[in-house]
């Protein structure tokens, strides 16, 4: 069968087999590579269903892709086949304030959704650092979260219903607009985080939340990351749940200052950014409580002076991961071992061990992340033209992953497993991985949906 001709019948000119185009779809922001044979940009559920049906009948792999901002190769077609670029399906279909939800197509960009919700006084809370460019579909596929999930939860907590194209092209809905349902398996939760291995999301009903009246930011610095970790544990155990709780080690601070020299950040130590939100009085009270609890451990502690200062700090924080070249133009940040998580109590131990790994392999490291939910983003950076540094990098990343599992944590807190972390699934899950494989087999017997991912 002439697959190119068949695909063209479905999507017309929104098909490409041009070598350069295929190359552009052969990677995301990770180190995983895989060349597709076809790229299509569907515009409707019907088109997706017909494409998947065609792939099913001809045993062709299908990999869905949003904005390609993933850090685990989840959208990389490691077995070739068809890449479904879903970013053109980007409409907001319904803003249903009465039911506190919104219905969207998967290609919409997270920030665009929130821009549209702002006039209504609502927002979609999960906010990854890539919110300016990542799609909601990608967020659902990887159960993305971000800085504010410590209070608001992850994407998983906001999805009410999904329209999903199954492996044979059948279209199903997994939920409804109801807040709760006790009828049957929760297929919505099964699809979230399944990385496109069980079906292709073509529509989503999302719960939204009212925008908080005010936000306050406490900036505290500590002698070292371990003490900073202790301050976080102490804050939580004192009953304060911040809306964001981020660590920036001293290397991250240097990078941030290079990125935006106008930022006023502590000149020494490792920093925790505690954000609290809500009504003016409750936010102020929570901020004061954090300052009181952390002061005995801190080198310095202060409240951000204005909303602009807060916005500037958060904007820079969101992009710090990629900004390491500002410190040393010969180094590039490589996203490996970058998303481990451990129970909050184990954070000081994780920080200590990660520092030891960085020193052992003589690799400069930047440590930042959502310390409030136990998620550490480790940024290892190397000279990409130096093979020895690549070798050391991969060994260090491997050890970081194993350390997280050893501490009762996970190899990925929010970026997903994709192909980059597939080898650790068995170690992390043991016999539970067989259950996942059985589910995969039941829903995708031919294994056409995003093969090579999740260690399945």
């Amino acid at each position: 069968m002439d697959i190119t001709a068949e695909l063209r019948k479905i999507v017309g000119g929104r098909l490409s087999v041009s070598p350069s185009e295929l190359y552009c779809y052969s990677s995301d922001a990770s180190q995983v590579k895989g060349m597709p044979d076809y790229v299509v940009r569907p515009k409707s559920t019907n088109e997706v269903s017909r494409i998947v049906r065609l792939a099913y009948e001809n045993d062709i792999p299908v990999t869905a892709r949003g904005a390609g901002t993933g850090l685990a190769g989840g959208a990389v077609p490691v077995a070739g086949g068809i890449v479904l670029d879903m970013s053109g399906m980007n409409r907001i279909l319904e803003v249903d304030i009465d039911n506190i939800q919104v219905v969207v197509e998967p290609g919409i960009i997270q920030d665009s959704l929130n821009d549209a919700l702002k006039p209504y006084g609502f927002f979609f809370p999960p906010n990854p650092g890539s919110s300016a460019m990542c799609t909601i579909g990608g967020m659902i596929a990887y159960n993305a979260s971000g800085m504010r999930c410590v209070k608001y939860g992850t994407t998983r907590n906001y999805v009410r219903d999904l329209e999903v194209v199954l492996a044979d092209g059948t279209v199903i809905n997994t939920g409804s607009k109801m807040l709760k349902s006790a009828a049957g398996y929760d297929l919505t939760q099964l699809i979230i985080g399944s990385e496109g291995t069980l079906g292709i999301v073509t529509k989503a009903s999302l719960k939204i939340a009212p925008l908080p009246k005010t936000r306050k930011l406490v900036i505290a610095s500590f002698e070292n990351a371990e003490i900073a970790g202790q301050a976080v544990v102490k804050t939580f155990s004192n009953g304060v749940i911040p809306s964001a709780c981020e660590i920036l080690d001293r290397v991250s601070l240097q990078v941030l200052k290079r990125y935006d020299p106008n930022l006023v950040l502590p000149s020494e130590g490792d920093v925790i950014l505690f954000e609290v939100d809500g009504m003016e009085s409750s936010a102020r009270e929570a901020a004061e409580q954090i300052m009181k609890v952390c002061a005995p451990l801190a080198l310095s502690i202060r409240l951000a002076e204005s909303e602009k200062e807060m916005a500037d700090i958060w904007a820079a924080r969101k992009l710090v991961g990629a900004a390491v070249s500002r410190l040393d133009p010969t180094k590039t940040r490589i996203y490996v071992g970058e998303d481990v998580g451990v129970p909050i109590k184990q954070i000081p131990e994780l920080l200590k061990r990660v520092q030891e790994i960085s020193e052992r392999f003589n690799l400069p490291a930047m440590k930042y992340g959502h310390i409030g939910d136990g998620n550490l983003h480790l940024a290892l950076f190397i000279d990409v033209l130096n093979k020895d540094e690549w070798d050391r990098l991969n060994k260090a990343a491997d050890l970081v992953h194993r350390t997280a599992i050893d501490l009762g944590g996970t190899v990925s807190s929010e970026h997903g497993v994709g192909a980059a972390r597939a080898e650790y699934m068995n170690i992390q899950w043991g016999p539970a991985l067989e259950v996942m494989r059985a589910i995969k087999k039941a829903l995708d017997p031919k294994g056409i949906l995003n093969p090579g991912k999740l260690g399945l």
């Binding site: 190119t4 087999v17 041009s18 070598p19 350069s20 185009e21 295929l22 190359y23 552009c24 779809y25 052969s26 990677s27 995301d28 922001a29 060349m35 597709p36 044979d37 076809y38 790229v39 001809n58 045993d59 062709i60 792999p61 904005a67 390609g68 901002t69 077995a79 070739g80 086949g81 670029d85 970013s87 053109g88 960009i109 300016a132 460019m133 990125y259 992009l319 710090v320 991961g321 990629a322 900004a323 070249s325 500002r326 133009p329 590039t332 940040r333 490589i334 996203y335 990409v384 033209l385 494989r437 995969k440 087999k441 017997p445 031919k446 294994g447 056409i448 093969p451 090579g452 399945l456």
Partner: protein, 390 residues
């Protein structure tokens, strides 16, 4: 599970080879693929593929394919560095960049994609891979000294009497540019009219500044053209060049091998506001920041100072470093007119309500925004100044 599916690599390879064969027929040059591809690898590997640029690339906004955004272009250039043979579809990707620089202004890693793209275009040319539009542009500049292939005298907009009054020597030269010389002679006339009051003169035989050649990758040819202007500037002994075109401005300032003071018309006007004695007009206008004046050279305040001296300024939705490109630059207007026009239409969506004019300070932006057909007239800043001098 993987064993069940067909691994498509071989078919993919075949498809790629077929496409490559077809592409070869479209290559205009001589010995494609025989030249090694030399771009500073560090400038390319700075890109961490995070996709920040993807969210702001104006061409991608219109085209929708990954190869039409900055990250895609950086990936393609990486692939060429790693040994992939350049082909026509590579050119499509690289030639469709307007070099507007919004990607560079947002890149967290500090990459400068427009510079990388221009370097890669130069390499493609060395490999003999160019578009017909690029070749036409080069030939026009080299043969006629202007980007339009116009044969009439560059100073045709001046009368015999006016020509006779031009100073032979001055410290200040007005560099008119191809656009004002041939497409908007009324701008040139008004600009020179203002500048002559300050003893500014013209080059005896001004040539294209070489911007179109540099932006499209004809670096060696550009150097020849730059020399023709440089010789005249040297001979005249001028220390300051004033330009009314954003493309000329950035080229003279950043690409010419010899350094002299280059200032844009808005900067010159802002410096001499008091002497100009401008009337305040009952007008509300908005201002479009040309990419090569704004983002590339951070000239943001001077045009606003001039506008506010004359009228009320109501800003566009995206301004200064966030201003969206008009779509005219980087050879896109000539190479991909449809894409270029769509970009201009998108830019017009940023125009606020109830303004009398859209003011800008680049004739290429004027042209492209006018072509997009909005209902508000697009004018050059010199026209606003001329109204305030009447």
């Amino acid at each position: 599970m993987n064993g069940v599916v067909k691994i498509m690599k071989n078919e993919g390879k075949k498809v790629i080879e077929q496409a490559r064969d077809q592409d070869k027929t479209k290559i205009t040059g001589k010995e494609s693929g025989k030249h090694s591809f030399e771009v500073d690898p560090r400038s390319v590997y700075k890109c961490v593929q995070c996709g920040t640029c993807r969210s702001v690339c104006p061409v991608f906004d219109v085209v929708g394919w990954e190869s039409a955004n900055t990250r895609g272009r950086m990936l393609i250039i990486k692939s060429l560095l790693e040994g992939r043979a350049p082909s026509e579809d590579v050119l499509q990707s690289l030639a469709s960049c307007t070099t507007c620089g919004i990607c560079a202004s947002r890149c967290p890693a500090g990459a400068n994609p427009p510079e990388v793209v221009e370097a890669a275009r130069t390499q493609l040319i060395k490999c003999g891979i160019t578009t017909e539009a690029q070749e036409k542009l080069k030939s026009a500049v080299l043969t006629y000294g202007n980007s339009f292939g116009e044969t009439k005298d560059r100073k045709h907009w001046l009368s015999e009497t006016e020509l006779s009054k031009i100073l032979e020597k001055s410290d200040y030269v007005y560099f008119v540019g191809c656009f004002d010389s041939y497409r908007y002679p009324e701008f040139a006339k008004k600009t020179f009219g203002v500048l002559q009051r300050f003893g500014v003169t013209l080059l005896p035989d001004e040539q294209c500044c070489a911007s179109p050649l540099l932006r499209t990758g004809f670096k060696e040819d550009a150097e020849k053209v730059m020399q023709r202007n440089l010789e005249q500037i040297r001979k005249m002994g001028a220390h300051t060049i004033i330009t009314s075109c954003a493309g000329c401005y950035t080229t003279l300032k950043n690409n010419y091998p010899e350094k002299f003071r280059v200032i844009s018309l808005p900067e010159f006007l802002a410096e001499h506001l008091e002497e100009l004695n401008l009337k305040k007009l009952d007008l509300t206008v908005t201002y479009h920041d040309p990419c090569h004046l704004g983002r590339h050279n951070e000239v943001y305040d001077a045009p606003r100072k001039v506008i506010e001296a004359i009228s009320t300024l109501k800003e566009m939705k995206n301004i200064k470093e966030n201003a969206r490109c008009c779509g005219g630059g980087g050879g896109v207007r000539i190479g991909y007119p449809d894409i270029s026009l769509e970009l201009a239409k998108n830019r017009l969506q940023d125009v606020p309500e109830d303004v009398d004019y859209i003011v800008t300070s680049c004739p290429l932006c004027v042209r492209n925004l006018r072509d997009a057909g909005g209902h508000i007239e697009v004018i050059d800043i010199v026209e606003l100044v001329a109204m305030a001098m009447e």
